[in-house]
């Protein structure tokens, strides 16, 4: 009996993270990962291999249709759309993952506390979380950015804080399930501190949930960043950004200049789909 109590509790009850071998066998994951990898490379090195400067204007060659010289045509200032799409990955892939990471860290901590401690804390904070969730995320982000001013840091903080209650609610549910299991009773019995139980015992067991939540939220974050840029909350209009480039050019679609909007839109769609393919693959493997 003593031996049982002294055995490492985490080894007994820890849920397994997805087997990467199983994940790698899924075609959806491979396709998604390849697309994601392509955009990450573009974000890091896009300006090195883009055929033109993403900033260079040719005022006498505006709105040129796709051609051998400009694969995706030129925009209203004569800039090469293909180069701007490649380099435009940088702004979105800088903000979205960091914002998602922030939201995941904070949301997980909050979810652990709400799910494990429960009681009055869960009742009060839980209602606040529900109140926050009742307001559309983009509206909250919109208000914050108007109040604080647009910058990459602001966007990361705002989106991170918006995701915090969403992730917290999911993690809380997972923690409540875990709380019913015997290994936690055992951990309490041997006198582990509340903090230790939450972060050393429960957290490893809800990590699959957190991982899936992270990948799902990353897709939403990309869409939110693009939406904010589309609404005019980008940092600098010269900076290549898919959302702000769509905003700047969608008004000329009717005039026949479809390429200036279509290609940045396809870039956003491809990135979101890629992340969803990855998230879906992980989720399916976890589900068995």
């Amino acid at each position: 009996m003593t031996d049982i109590l002294e055995a490492p509790v985490t080894d007994v009850a820890r849920a397994e993270l997805p087997s990467w071998r199983l994940v790698m066998r899924r075609p959806g994951f491979i396709v998604g990962a390849l697309i994601l990898l392509f955009w990450i490379v573009c974000a890091l090195f896009g300006s090195s291999f883009a055929p033109h400067s993403a900033y260079a204007q040719q005022l006498l060659a505006t709105n040129q249709p796709p051609s051998a010289a400009h694969w995706f045509g030129t925009d209203q200032l004569g800039r090469d759309v293909f180069s701007r799409v490649l380099v435009g990955a940088r702004s979105i892939l800088l903000v979205a993952p960091l914002a998602t990471l922030l939201g995941t860290v904070l949301g997980t901590a909050l979810g652990l506390a709400l799910g494990y401690i429960g009681g009055a804390l869960d009742a009060i904070v839980g209602r606040l979380v529900e109140a926050v969730l009742a307001v559309p995320a983009v509206i909250v982000a919109f208000l914050f950015i108007v109040a604080v001013g647009a910058s990459a840091t602001t966007e990361i903080l705002v989106i991170g804080f918006i995701f915090t209650p969403i992730i917290a609610r999911t993690v809380r549910s997972a923690v409540q399930v875990e709380s019913q299991l015997d290994y936690l009773a055992a951990a309490r019995l041997i006198g582990e501190s509340r903090r230790h139980v939450m972060f050393a015992e429960i957290l490893p067991n809800v990590m699959p949930t957190v991982l899936v939540e992270f990948t799902v939220r990353l897709g939403y974050a990309i869409f939110t960043v693009a939406t904010l840029a589309f609404l005019g909350f980008g940092v600098n209009p010269s900076t290549p950004s898919w959302g702000s480039d769509i905003n700047a050019n969608y008004g000329v679609i009717a005039a026949g200049y479809w390429w200036e909007t279509l290609f940045p839109a396809l870039a956003i769609a491809s990135l979101v789909i890629a992340i969803n393919l990855v998230a879906d693959s992980i989720d399916r493997v976890l589900a068995g």
Binding site: L60, V146, G232, P237, V252, A254, A255
Partner: protein, 562 residues
């Protein structure tokens, strides 16, 4: 020859000194036909007399720009799309295009500034000034009735002008009339005669009574302007039937109108938050007339299939550089930035050619007083680098440009930033919504007025007075001068020249002073004026008779549909 002189002599009879000077300038060849019409109307020479002078000299008058003339049907309902009014339709507070469009449907002005910037009589039948141009007398049209049946008299004009010039009401018209006319200067001298005693001589005063100064529709004496939205009371060719905030308005023909009756039986205005849905509505046939569109986003309408009315205008963008903030304290730095711009290319890129070149002064090509002998500034990177180096910035510097998010302004800001890179200057562009950018529109509480570099929109005016005063004259909180001086430009020579220009009555004096102002501003370059864009209106090909003005009105009383 004797007969010609006799006819001119008869036509001169009854004209005052200033009017005869205008006639002299035309006879001497210093005024063109169009300029005679414009200047003559300004100083109060009636249309028949102007026509007589042109006929005596073997000339004729220009025709207005309306949508193409074809045989259409009257008594139709004309559907019009305009930008959504920004607030309540109140003649005191209106400061936006949608609002002024609504005022102009039922309201009328003492004078009307037409598409050629020529003044036409409207509720005033004639006007004239004393020799020093500081007292102007207007004769009011008789037999006019407001839509509530009340007859128009001098009392209504006095009431309207005293209300609009009262600083306590804080009306938008003070941007033009402030410092020009006090309420006490509006004097009734007869049942149908009003005198305006100005604070200082002003040769262009009649323009301040025109549709250009769009708030100045004549209200019935004692009428509360805050209630105007409920009645749209006025003397115009239409009466309001319905008005729905943020949605639209409908009007019916005013059968008691004093002038030619409107051709449409009714009009239906739909409000759009931006031009894109307005263009879609015109393309789909939901509307017949689109009040205004811009080249950026409006390319479809320029590609054929629609009647496009193109008006030269003085509408422009002002790129201010803070003359009291380093590095722009040195005029060489300001000149260097201006020299980096390839203006013809900017006009091609942003306006497909539908704009005129700016020469870093508010004197637009459309103004007759613009002195065209002053050389046009052109792109010169080598000179710009030399100026920057001489000013102590051989490797350039970094600064920020804040602009308002409106139409082509974000693109223009990016072009400026890209051009400045050629001389090593890094300009970080920040584009803000209008509410953030304008802030409280006072110094210390407005990015528009406080930014190191600021890019703002200015609408059309028929005369450059406002452009010469509010954004360029030295800031003085007591007098209110320089209220929009985002460049914080402070130059006593400029202040004197601009005051002299405003007081000047004859065109040759105005041109001479304009030349001096243009040269001074090129040397100082507190503000870059790169272009003056055309005002564009579109109608369906089946519609004729739409009459826009570059200030933003759209008049459809002559519209027919086939």
């Amino acid at each position: 020859m004797t007969e010609y002189k006799d006819r001119l002599s008869r036509l001169r009879g009854g004209q005052n000194e200033i009017a005869n000077h205008v006639i002299d300038e035309f006879v001497a060849g210093r005024l063109s036909r169009r300029e005679l019409l414009r200047r003559g109307a300004l100083v109060g020479i009636s249309a028949p007399v102007l026509g007589g002078i042109l006929a005596a000299c073997g000339s004729s008058s220009p025709s207005p720009s309306t949508s193409k003339s074809t045989s259409g049907l009257s008594n139709q309902t004309i559907n019009v799309g305009i930008i959504t009014p920004a607030g309540a339709i109140n003649p005191i507070t209106i400061d936006d295009q949608g609002g002024l469009d609504m005022l102009g449907q039922t309201g009328e002005y003492l004078t009307f500034s037409d598409q050629t910037l020529t003044l036409q009589p409207q509720l005033a039948t004639s006007w004239s000034s004393n020799s020093s141009a500081d007292v102007w007398t207007f004769n009011i049209r008789q037999g006019v009735k407001f839509s509530n049946g009340q007859p128009l008299t001098a009392d209504d004009v006095v009431y309207t002008y005293q209300l609009q010039t009262n600083t306590k009401t804080g009306g938008n018209a003070l941007s033009a009339l402030g410092g020009v006319l006090e309420p006490s200067g509006v004097v009734k001298t007869g049942d149908y005669t009003v005198e305006f005693h100005l604070e200082a001589p002003n040769g262009n005063f009649p323009y301040l009574t025109s549709s250009d100064n769009y708030n100045m529709i004549i209200l019935p004496s004692g009428y509360d302007p805050a209630k105007w939205q409920s009645s749209f009371i006025g003397t115009g060719p239409f009466v309001m039937k319905t008005y729905t905030v943020n949605t639209g308005a409908t009007f019916a023909r005013n059968d008691n109108y004093w002038g030619p009756k409107a051709k449409p039986a009714a009009t239906n205005f739909t409000f759009y938050a931006s031009q894109t849905p307005g263009i879609s509505a015109l393309v789909s046939g939901a509307i017949d007339v689109l009040g205004q569109f811009t080249v950026t986003g409006g390319e479809e309408l320029l590609s054929g299939g629609y009647n496009v009315i193109k008006l030269k205008s003085s509408a422009h963008r002002e790129l201010s550089m803070r003359c009291d903030t380093a590095p722009f304290t040195d005029p060489r730095v300001r000149q260097a930035i201006a020299l980096t711009l390839n203006r013809p290319a900017i006009i091609t890129a942003l306006f497909k050619g539908y704009a005129d070149l700016g020469n870093d002064s508010p004197f637009a090509p459309v103004f007759p007083s613009t002195n065209t002998s002053v050389a046009q500034r052109v792109q010169d990177i080598a000179k710009a680098k030399a100026l920057l180096s001489a000013a102590g910035h051989p490797t350039g510097f970094s600064t920020q440009l804040i602009g308002v998010n409106l139409l082509e302004i974000p693109d223009y800001a990016q072009i400026v930033a890209q051009a400045a890179k050629a001389i090593g200057v890094t300009i970080n562009v920040k584009v803000e919504s209008s509410s953030v950018y304008y802030g409280k529109a006072t110094f210390g509480d407005s990015d528009w007025l406080d930014a190191t570099m600021s890019l703002v929109d200015y609408g059309h005016r028929s005369v450059p007075n406002v452009f010469l005063t509010a954004p360029l004259q030295t800031i003085n909180a007591k007098t209110g001068s320089g209220a929009w001086n985002a460049a914080h430009f402070n130059n006593s020579d400029y202040d004197k020249l601009s005051a002299q220009y405003i007081a000047a009555v004859d065109l040759s004096t105005q041109r001479s002073l304009a030349g001096q102002i243009e040269t001074l501003l090129l040397n100082e370059t507190p503000i870059i004026y790169a272009y003056f864009y055309n005002y564009l209106t579109a109608t369906a090909s089946t519609v004729t008779g739409a009459y826009p003005t570059a200030i933003g009105h759209i008049f459809v009383y002559n519209c027919t549909k086939s």
